[in-house]
């Protein structure tokens, strides 16, 4: 899923300051799972905004709605009549949702979240980065643990000199991806694979090749 977290409330309040009528629009997919922008979080945010503006003596009319996915026009267009009633939309979707809606509207669409990474649930309430979308997956070579997203230096040929007690030098709470890879490859009896030199990576398939678009001609309408 795409993992995001809510921006500090002060920043959100500042961004909606000029408006007297806004829509807080939740997204019920990734950001609902990571408890940042689903129906519940959008509702709490709407209440916080009302309270803060009331306290500031500058009342605001806050509408609330949550759609299934903000990354699809289909769901966004279904709420068309709501957008006409407000001066701005505060989206609790990831950056994708904010842009998707913004492209459809003539009014400002403001982000309520900071979008962080593609990750999975580690424990309840903890999510960890697992993929950076490099466009050329190496997991087959690394025992299913991604050094591109999980090694602070994106190393492809083994751990740097800062790996100690299984932890990354950058953050003692982060596992060293290469320690995990070596442990996993040892368990799989494939450690010899790690002796092979992985050549310089082709970053063209990643963000470095410019913004990416994918088209499937066979499914186009």
């Amino acid at each position: 899923m795409i993992v995001a977290e809510q921006k500090p409330i002060e920043e959100v309040l500042k961004s909606i300051e000029p408006f007297d009528k806004i829509l807080v629009l939740g997204c019920n997919t990734c950001v609902a799972v990571c408890m940042a922008g689903g129906e519940k979080e959008a509702g709490i945010l709407a209440s916080m905004i009302r309270l803060a503006r009331e306290k500031a003596g500058k009342l605001v009319d806050v509408l609330e709605k949550t759609v299934e996915r903000q990354c699809d026009d289909e769901f966004l267009l279904a709420e068309k009549e709501l957008y006409d009633k407000v001066e701005a939309v505060l989206s609790t979707a990831c950056g994708v949702g904010v842009q998707q809606l913004s492209a459809l509207l003539q009014i400002p669409v403001l982000p309520a979240l900071n979008t962080k990474f593609m990750g999975g649930t580690k424990d309840h309430g903890t999510w960890s980065e697992r993929c950076s979308g490099c466009g050329d997956c190496v997991l087959e070579l690394t025992g299913g643990i991604c050094p591109v997203s999980r090694c602070a230096k994106t190393l492809l040929n083994g751990p740097c000199g800062g790996s100690a007690d299984g932890k990354c030098e950058v953050n003692p709470d982060t596992d060293c991806a290469w320690q995990l890879i070596i442990d996993r490859m040892t368990a799989l009896e494939r450690l010899d694979k790690l002796l092979e030199i992985q050549p310089a990576k082709n970053w063209k398939t990643a963000r470095d090749g410019g913004p990416r678009t994918q088209t499937r001609e066979d499914v186009k309408l």
């Binding site: 994106t154 190393l155 083994g158 751990p159 950058v170 290469w178 320690q179 002796l195």
Partner: protein, 316 residues
């Protein structure tokens, strides 16, 4: 002969070499480099010039290396993958060569979070193994990383680093082997404080015949105080400081003298380990300590610097 550098020629002759370390200034002052060269000249055979070490912006290692060449001490110019992509690294390797630099040490680089610009974007287009491979391809195949041909190649002596004290231990030798397979001519290790672990590392290296395929220089570091020693133990990942070293430094009346003495004793022990081809003394911001250490470790006099062999160069 790959590069004809003084370092390469000494190692090829079987001389037990001594290298030092010189950190370029956090300013434009070339006199800082000239002064440090003054401490090191005649005491070491070549000197590493660090590249924005610990992610702190300093004078470029190539520029400082050139000043070193001009001052009469052979540099080993360090380059890290953190700040430069393959374009910039190749460009620097070519530029360094054109300016007289003959030894290059290819490193990954410390993460920027440890330095004075922690908010910067890092590069890491290549890792150190790929960097070594790229320089070797330039030198031996006269090709850029892209495969495109070059007319005149940088004939440099290629170095890489190894840290026997980071984890996982067994993989440390494999990683060194990868660097040697990629084309490293020499290896410099992180400073040894834990001799027992280093001996095990070398034993594994010998089993894989790595000491015959590349020159392994053991790192040492004189430490000024018990505080510096415990700081490294507690705060620098990938460093192992044995308890007896801490106790000894702690009990010493004069930390600096004890630090130098421990370093001298360590060098003498390392010299006897099979497969250790030289010593790399990392006296960070304490270059003045090197002459005494080298002398008392019985490493003087250093062999004279002879004129490099003529390399026939053609192309443009």
């Amino acid at each position: 002969m790959k590069s004809g550098s003084h370092l390469e020629r000494l190692l090829d002759k079987g001389t037990f070499v001594v290298t030092g370390e010189l950190g370029p200034p956090k300013s434009v002052n070339r006199e800082v480099i000239e002064r440090k060269v003054g401490y090191l000249k005649g005491m070491v055979d070549a000197v590493n010039i660090t590249d924005n070490q610990t992610a702190i912006a300093r004078m470029s290692s190539v520029a400082a290396g050139v000043i070193c060449v001009q001052t009469g001490l052979e540099p080993i110019v360090q380059m890290v993958c953190r700040d430069k992509n393959r374009l910039a690294l190749q460009s620097d390797v070519m530029g360094a060569y054109a300016l007289g630099i003959r030894n290059i040490l290819c490193l990954t680089g410390d993460h920027q979070c440890f330095g004075n610009h922690p908010e910067c974007k890092n590069v890491f287009d290549l890792d150190a193994v790929q960097f070594v491979q790229m320089v070797k391809t330039m030198r031996d195949e006269k090709k850029f990383q892209s495969g495109e041909e070059m007319k005149m190649e940088p004939r440099v002596f290629i170095g890489a680093a190894a840290n026997p004290f980071a984890d996982p231990f067994e993989f440390r030798v494999i990683r060194m082997e990868k660097k040697i397979n990629a084309g490293a001519d020499f290896i410099q290790t992180q400073p040894v404080f834990d001799l027992e672990r280093f001996e095990r590392f070398m034993e594994l290296a010998r089993k894989r015949n790595l000491h015959k395929r590349a020159y392994i220089l053991a790192g040492v570091m004189p430490v000024k105080s018990v505080r510096a020693l415990t700081y490294m133990r507690d705060s620098v990942p990938g460093v192992i400081i044995p308890e007896d070293a801490v106790e000894r430094m702690g009990a010493a009346a004069d930390g600096k003298e004890e630090g130098k003495q421990m370093c001298i004793e360590m060098i003498k022990k390392l010299k006897d380990i099979e497969g250790v081809a030289g010593i790399h003394i990392m006296a960070v911001e304490w270059e003045q300590a090197i002459p005494e250490i080298v002398e008392k470790a019985c490493l003087l006099p250093r062999p004279p610097v002879e004129a490099p062999p003529e390399l026939v160069e053609t192309g443009d």
